[in-house]
């Protein structure tokens, strides 16, 4: 009977305590699932526009950025030593006097970003294309930066 009296209070009994922990664990699981779900974990972002994907093979670096609505001459590209600078302004022209907006999700504004590439590059040999709103750069690595095979001689 004493035991029964103790467990009368909500949240104080043994069974209830574990239920509380269980509920908290489920909440944490749901929270972490919401943060990290998806086929891969969230990509790291430096927080500066535009988001860049940089890849390399043995001869070149490839840099890609998504810049919808921009034309090739609105983007300013600069290469200096190992730094690549991308800047410009995205303008969204107003559509007229008498328009009512239902959704307004696209953003306009200036952007400027400089990124340092991991190896020496040949600044005279940079190829840039703008197709369907995606900027693709092919940057040749300088000869010194290309990987070289060293042959081991046996005596």
């Amino acid at each position: 009977m004493l035991a029964r009296r103790m467990f009368d209070l909500p949240g104080m009994g043994w069974k209830n305590a574990f239920a509380e922990m269980e509920r908290m664990r489920r909440e944490m699981d749901r929270l972490s699932y919401a943060l990290f779900s998806g086929p891969q974990s969230r990509p790291i972002s430096s927080g500066v526009f535009p988001a860049l994907n940089i890849t390399e093979d043995k001869d070149n670096y490839y840099v890609r950025a998504e810049l919808p609505g921009m034309k090739a001459d609105e983007i300013n590209l600069q290469v200096e030593a190992r730094n690549l600078g991308i800047s410009g302004e995205r303008k969204i022209h107003s559509e007229g006097e008498n328009v009512k907006y239902h959704r307004r999700e696209r953003e306009a504004g200036k952007f400027a970003r400089v990124i340092e590439l991991p190896g020496e590059i040949d600044a005279d040999n940079v190829d840039a294309h703008m197709v369907n709103g995606v900027l693709s750069l092919t940057i040749h690595k300088s000869e010194a930066a290309k990987p070289k095979q060293i042959i081991i001689k046996t005596v």
Binding site: G38, D57, G133
Partner: protein
């Protein structure tokens, strides 16, 4: 004139319910501007990386579905140095009221921006009623 503000980076929004899509790969929700004039409703969607042939605009039962396929642009020999965004298809659905004249919808894709013009049906346009003197 005020100086234009700086663009902030935005994570690409993945579609909330991945279970509905049977093809593998990521699916994103494109940013969209929708506005209305007297004669039409315009929809502008940012879908970079989608070519003209890879956009599907489907309209049935009053539901407008926009799908854009993106061809992977990386060669097989490339290794990653920095990956800040993922590549995937674009998908978004809207329900259209019956005031749209569905036969006259126009679509235009340029620089990764899709522009859809949805003309309003005749009876939905505001009409000025002239008040005649008695």
């Amino acid at each position: 004139m005020a100086e234009s503000k700086e663009l902030q980076i935005k994570e690409k929004q993945e579609v909330a319910s991945p279970g509905e899509h049977t093809r593998p790969g990521l699916v994103f929700t494109p940013a969209v501007d929708i506005f209305e004039t007297d004669r039409e409703i315009m929809l502008l969607a940012d879908i970079p990386g989608v070519a003209r042939d890879d956009v599907t605009i489907d309209l049935r039962d009053g539901i407008l579905t926009i799908t854009g396929d993106v061809k992977p642009w990386e060669g097989p020999d490339e290794s990653d140095v920095l990956v800040e965004f993922e590549i995937g298809r674009y998908y978004r659905q809207f329900s259209l009221s019956k005031v749209i004249d569905q036969d006259k919808i126009e679509a235009n894709l340029q620089d990764g921006v899709l522009r859809l013009v949805l003309p309003k049906a005749e009876k939905a346009m505001p009409k000025k009623i002239a008040v005649k003197a008695a």
